[in-house]
C-alpha cells in the first residue's frame, strides 16, 4: 500500500472505528486533576542538594573579585563554584547556525567569567542542603563589580560610539540578511499608492506556570548522568549535556515527565541548568535547580523585540504590488545555543506578506547584541511580528482607498487553486486555503452584521473595532530548519511500536508532551492504524532511554512528523501481526484485518483476539511453523523531504471596543479558522488555538519586559508583568478547514502556534479600525491605555 494511496487513506481514516478526527478526552489528564503530576520539582532523590545562583545585578560589569569564604561556612552549604571552576568541567557553546550566513556569536559559558553581560546572568553557584539555605549563602557571597557602559538601545547598537559588548567583534552585529526580488523600487515608483509605517513590538516572554527546573544525577561508578528535565527536546539535551561535560552520549539519559508549560521557553540551553549538571558531575550526587519566578523573568528567554519599518505599494484597485520591510531586533549579549537568536528575525523576513500575491519584496533584517537578557524562539517564532506588519499595512492601504478590509484581502490573497507556488520571499507552498478560511471566518463572525452594529454604535459615541488577519504558519520543519545549519537537532522522528504479550499496544515516540495532547493523538493514530481501542494503547514519551531518537516538540511538529512515524510504525506492525495471523489462522494476510482488537477474516467475525495471537507468539512458539518468526516490535522513522516547511494557514478575527476616554481596550470576541491539514483531535486543536490566541493577546495588549536606561528589568514580578487573566479574556470561536498535506500519509500539519501568530495582527487591526473615525492610529504593541490615549492626543 503506497503511503500516498488515497483509497487506502480513506479506508483508514474514515473507517467507523477510526480515531482520526475524533475529540477524545486525554487519558493523561485525569491524574493531573488529582494533583498526581510529576514535575521536576516534585522529584526527590537520595542525597539531593539544591543550587541557587548569585546573579549579576548589572547589565554590563567586570567581575573584579568573588569572596565566598563567609558564604561557604553557612549552615547547609555544600559547595560554592565560580564560572571559572564550572568551566573546568564544562565546555562553552556557540549559538550560531551556519546557514544563516555571516551569523556570529562568541563562546558562552554557563556562568559568567570575568565579565557579566546582562542583569541576571548567573555568576556564582551556591549548593546547599535546601534551596532556602542556598539563598541565604547567595546573600553572603560578596562580588565586587566594576560597572561598564551597557549597550541597551538597538537603534544605536551599531553606532561606532556605542559600547562593543564583545571585544573580538568589530560591532554589536550578530546577523544581517537581505531578501530582494529586484523590482521593489520600480514598483513603488509606479504605484498608485504607497503606504508607510513603523511598527514597534515590545520585548516579552513566555511565563510558563512551572518555572524552569532540572535535576541532574551523576553516577561516578558508571560515569553516567540521569537528568530529569522540563525540556521539550530530550535528545537534543542529551547531546548537549554529553558534549559539554565530556560524557559519553549513550551514558546520558534525559527524562521529561510532566512539564508545566513550555511554549518554546524550555527548548534552549540555559547556563543555570547546564551548571546544575556540571555541579552534579563535580559532586557525584543529585543537584536540583528550580528557578523561582524572579529568576524566570530575568533569565528565561525573552522574545519579539522588533522595530519594523514597512512600505506597501498598491494599484488603484488595491492590488498589492510590492512590500518592503526593514526589521531591527535586539537580542541578548549572545546568540542562544543551539537554535540561535537569528531565527526570529529570519522568520520575519521569510514570512511577512506570505499569504499575498504581490511579486516584489525586499526585506532587510538586522540582529544586534544587547546587554539585556537572552532572546530566542518563543511560540510562533517571528510570526506575530510578520503577520502584524503585513496585516497592518494591508489595512492601512485599504483604508486609504476606501476598500473594506475583508474585500482587500479577497483581492490579494493567493488563490486557493494557485498551488504549488512560492511567496515573494521564496517560501514554497504546497497547498493552502486562504480564501476558504477567510470566507469561513467572515461567516462565523457574521461580519456584515458586525459592521452594521459598529456603524450604529458609532453614532452613539461607542467605538467598536473589527480586525482581521490572514496568516501562514511554519509547521512540520524539515532538516532545512536547524540540521542544515550544523545544529544537532533532529528533524526526523521515530516510533517503536509493539504488541505486548497481553495484546496491548505500546508506542514509544520521540516527540514530547507538555499538555497539548501529544500522547493522546499518538494513541489515536496508533489505535487507528492497528484497529484497536484507544484504551489498549500506551504511549511512551520523554525518556531518551526508552524512545527512538527524535526531535521532541517544537515548531508544531509533533502531530505531523511524530504522528506520521507512529502511523507508519503502526501500519508496519499491523502487517506483521496479519502475517502471524495468517500463519495461525491458516489463510493469507490479504484476507485478514484487525477490527476492535481482533484479527479477523475480512467481512467476518472469524478470528482471534490480539491477546490470543500475542500469547501464541510469545509463549507458544511450538505452535508456529519452524520457518516463521513473528516480529511484533517495529520501528519506523519519518522526515519531511519535499518542502523546507509544511505551511499551514488560517484567518483570525477580533471584535473589540475602545474606551476613548480611558484608552482601555475590551475584547468582545475572537474567532479563528485554522487549516492544519488532517485534524486528529478537533477539540485539542481548538484548545491549542485558544491558548495560543490568549498568548497573542498578551503580547498585543499586556505583556512587556520593561528595561530602564541602566539595563535593569523593572517588572520582574507577576504583579507587574501582565499575563492575561480570565476576566479580560473573550470567548474564542474556532473552526477548521482541512487541506491534508501530501508530504505524509497522515496529512496532518501542525496547529500549536497558529493562534499566537495571527492574534496580535487581528487585535491591532481592530483597535485601529475602532480609532479610524477619530483619525488616530496605534503602531506599537503592547497596546496599553497610554498608547491609545497618545494616539488620540489625550496624554
Amino acid at each position: 500500500m503506497s503511503e500516498f494511496d488515497e483509497a487506502a487513506k480513506t479506508l483508514l481514516f474514515d473507517a467507523p472505528n477510526s480515531y482520526v478526527g475524533r475529540s477524545v478526552t486525554r487519558p493523561n489528564a485525569r491524574r493531573l486533576t488529582q494533583g498526581r503530576g510529576q514535575y521536576v520539582d516534585d522529584i526527590v532523590l537520595p542525597r539531593m542538594v539544591h543550587v541557587a545562583y548569585v546573579r549579576s545585578p548589572h547589565a554590563h560589569a567586570k567581575i573584579v573579585k568573588i569572596e565566598s569564604k563567609k558564604a561557604a561556612a553557612m549552615p547547609g552549604v555544600v559547595r560554592i563554584a565560580t564560572g571559572a571552576e564550572i568551566a573546568l568541567v564544562c565546555k562553552p557553546y556557540v549559538g550560531v547556525l551556519t546557514h544563516l550566513q555571516g551569523m556570529r556569536s562568541p563562546p558562552q559559558y554557563p556562568l559568567a567569567i570575568e565579565v557579566a553581560r546582562w542583569q541576571g546572568e548567573p555568576v556564582v553557584a551556591v549548593v546547599a542542603q535546601s534551596r532556602a539555605e542556598a539563598e541565604d549563602a547567595v546573600d553572603a557571597v560578596e562580588v565586587r563589580y566594576e560597572e561598564l557602559p551597557a549597550a541597551l538601545d538597538a537603534e544605536r547598537a551599531l553606532d561606532p560610539s556605542e559600547t562593543k559588548i564583545h571585544k573580538e567583534f568589530d560591532s554589536n552585529l550578530c546577523f544581517q540578511r537581505t531578501v530582494d526580488t529586484g523590482g521593489v523600487d520600480a514598483a513603488m515608483k509606479s504605484a498608485h499608492l504607497v503606504v508607510e509605517d513603523t511598527i514597534v513590538f515590545g520585548r516579552h516572554t513566555g511565563v510558563t506556570m512551572e518555572p524552569r527546573a532540572i535535576l541532574a544525577d551523576y553516577n561516578r561508578a558508571e560515569e553516567s548522568m540521569t537528568v530529569y528535565h522540563c525540556g521539550q527536546s530530550p535528545h537534543m539535551m542529551q547531546g548537549i549535556i554529553a558534549s559539554r561535560l565530556s560524557l559519553d552520549e549513550h551514558r546520558v539519559r534525559i527524562v521529561a515527565r510532566d512539564v508545566g508549560g513550555s511554549f518554546g521557553i524550555k527548548i534552549h540551553t540555559y547556563g543555570d541548568e547546564i551548571a546544575a549538571c556540571a555541579l552534579s558531575l563535580m559532586l557525584g550526587r543529585p543537584v536540583k535547580f528550580a528557578a523561582d519566578r524572579l529568576e524566570s523573568f530575568l533569565s528565561d528567554i525573552h522574545a519579539r523585540d522588533h522595530r519594523v519599518k514597512a512600505k506597501l505599494a498598491v494599484d488603484r484597485d488595491g492590488n498589492m504590488l510590492a512590500l518592503e520591510i526593514d526589521d531591527l531586533t535586539g537580542i541578548g549579549p549572545y546568540s542562544m545555543f543551539p537554535r540561535s537568536s537569528g531565527v526570529e528575525c529570519n522568520q520575519v523576513l521569510n514570512l511577512t506578506g506570505g499569504p499575498y500575491k504581490h511579486k516584489e519584496y525586499r526585506a532587510r533584517g538586522t540582529v544586534v547584541f544587547q546587554n539585556k537578557n537572552m532572546m530566542c524562539q518563543y511560540r510562533a517564532v517571528g510570526h506575530p511580528i510578520a503577520v502584524a506588519v503585513a496585516e497592518h499595512m494591508v489595512d492601512q492601504a485599504a483604508a486609504k482607498l476606501g476598500i473594506d478590509p475583508a474585500e482587500m484581502r479577497k483581492r490579494n490573497l493567493i488563490a486557493d487553486d494557485a498551488y504549488p507556488c512560492k511567496s515573494a520571499s521564496g517560501m514554497r507552498f504546497e497547498a493552502l486555503s486562504h480564501h476558504q478560511c477567510m470566507d469561513k471566518l467572515l461567516a462565523l463572525m457574521k461580519y456584515d452584521g458586525l459592521r452594521r452594529e459598529q456603524s450604529d454604535l458609532r453614532k452613539k459615541g461607542v467605538y467598536r473595532g473589527i480586525g482581521l488577519s490572514s496568516f501562514i504558519e511554519v509547521t512540520n520543519p524539515s532538516p532545512m530548519f536547524y540540521g542544515v545549519g550544523g545544529a544537532r537537532i533532529a528533524a526526523q522522528d521515530g516510533c517503536t511500536i509493539k504488541l505486548d504479550a497481553n495484546g496491548a499496544i505500546v508506542a514509544a515516540t520521540g516527540v514530547t508532551e507538555q499538555g497539548q495532547g501529544t500522547e493522546t493523538i499518538m494513541a489515536q493514530i496508533a489505535a487507528t492504524a492497528l484497529g484497536v481501542e484507544m484504551s489498549c494503547v500506551k504511549v511512551l514519551t520523554g525518556d531518551t532511554d526508552k524512545v527512538p531518537y527524535g526531535g521532541g516538540t517544537w515548531a508544531s511538529r509533533a502531530a505531523g512528523i511524530g504522528g506520521e512515524a507512529v502511523l507508519q510504525a503502526g501500519l508496519a506492525l499491523k502487517a506483521n501481526i496479519l502475517q502471524a495471523g495468517a500463519v495461525i489462522l491458516k489463510t493469507s494476510a490479504s484476507d485478514l484485518d484487525i477490527v476492535d482488537g481482533r484479527v479477523v477474516k475480512k467481512g467476518t467475525e472469524q478470528g482471534i483476539t490480539l491477546a490470543e495471537l500475542a500469547r501464541i507468539c510469545y509463549y507458544r512458539g511450538n505452535e508456529l511453523p519452524v520457518d516463521f518468526q513473528p516480529e511484533l516490535v517495529v520501528t519506523r522513522h519519518y522526515r519531511v523531504k519535499d518542502y523546507a516547511f509544511v505551511f499551514s494557514n488560517g484567518a483570525q478575527g477580533c471584535s473589540l471596543e475602545v474606551d476613548i476616554e480611558t484608552g482601555f481596550v475590551k475584547l468582545l470576541k475572537m474567532w479563528c479558522v485554522d487549516d492544519c491539514g488532517r485534524v486528529i483531535n478537533p477539540k485539542l486543536v481548538d484548545e491549542q488555538a485558544r491558548g495560543g490566541i490568549v498568548q497573542g493577546i498578551g503580547g498585543a495588549l499586556y505583556e512587556q519586559c520593561l528595561y530602564d536606561d541602566r539595563g535593569q528589568l523593572l517588572n520582574a514580578t507577576m504583579a507587574d508583568y501582565l499575563v492575561p487573566m480570565a476576566a479580560e479574556m473573550p470567548d474564542i470561536e474556532c473552526a477548521h478547514v482541512e487541506t491534508p498535506t501530501k508530504t505524509s500519509m497522515l496529512g496532518a500539519k501542525g496547529a500549536g502556534e497558529a493562534g499566537t501568530g495571527g492574534a496580535p495582527a487581528a487585535i491591532m487591526n481592530a483597535v485601529n479600525d475602532a480609532l479610524r473615525p477619530l483619525e488616530a492610529k496605534v503602531t506599537s504593541q503592547p497596546i496599553t491605555p497610554e498608547i491609545v490615549l497618545r494616539a488620540l492626543g489625550k496624554a
Binding site: 489528564a29 488529582q34 510558563t208 510532566d258 490566541i693 504583579a719
Partner: protein, 165 residues
C-alpha cells in the same frame, strides 16, 4: 508566653490526618506540604501570591499556600488537592475538566480546582462572567481560560438541574 523561636512545633490536620512536625519558622505552608508531607499536588509558581498555583484550603477557605507559614497553620485544618480527590469531593469538577479539556499542562489545575470548588460552594449558579471574575486569581497559560469556564459552568448547570428535580 513563649519567646520568639526559629523552630516551632506544629500540630495540624491535613486531608483528615493528624500531623505533628517540627518546622523552621520561615517554611511556608506550600513548601511544608510538598517537602515535609510529600503532597506535591500543590504547586509553587511565583511565591508572591499572584499566580494561584499554590491555592489550597485552610479551615475551609481558600488561601495562598506560599503566603502562609507552616507555623501559622498550627491547629488548623488543611485540605489539599490530594485530599479533595481522595474524598471525591471534587469528582464532578475533575470529570468536567477532563471532558472540556480545561487543563493542558496541569500545573495551575489543582489551584484552579480549589478556587472553582470554593466558588460553587458560595455561588451555586454563577454566570460565565462571574466565573471569569472569580477565577482571575488563578493564572493559566495553556488554556486561555475558556475551557475552564465551560467546565465550571457545566457542573453548576448539572447541579442546578439535579436540585430542581
Amino acid at each position: 508566653m513563649k519567646a520568639a523561636a526559629e523552630t516551632l512545633e506544629v500540630s495540624l490536620t491535613v486531608n483528615g490526618e493528624a500531623v505533628k512536625r517540627s518546622v523552621p519558622a520561615r517554611l511556608n505552608l506550600a513548601d511544608f506540604l510538598r517537602i515535609e508531607l510529600e503532597l506535591t499536588g500543590t504547586h509553587v509558581g511565583c511565591e508572591h501570591g499572584v499566580c494561584g498555583a499554590c491555592t489550597l484550603r485552610v479551615d475551609g477557605e481558600i488561601v495562598r499556600g506560599c503566603l502562609m507559614f507552616a507555623a501559622q497553620a498550627d491547629g488548623c485544618t488543611v485540605d489539599t488537592i490530594e485530599g479533595l480527590s481522595d474524598s471525591r469531593e471534587i469528582e464532578e469538577l475533575q470529570s468536567a475538566f477532563v471532558l472540556t479539556n480545561a487543563l493542558q499542562c496541569g500545573f495551575c489545575t489543582p489551584g484552579v480546582l480549589m478556587a472553582a470548588q470554593a466558588l460553587l460552594r458560595d455561588e451555586p449558579n454563577p454566570s460565565r462572567e462571574r466565573i471569569r471574575e472569580y477565577l482571575s486569581g488563578n493564572y493559566c497559560r495553556c488554556t486561555g481560560y475558556q475551557a475552564i469556564v465551560d467546565a465550571i459552568e457545566a457542573v453548576a448547570k448539572a447541579r442546578a438541574a439535579r436540585s430542581v428535580r
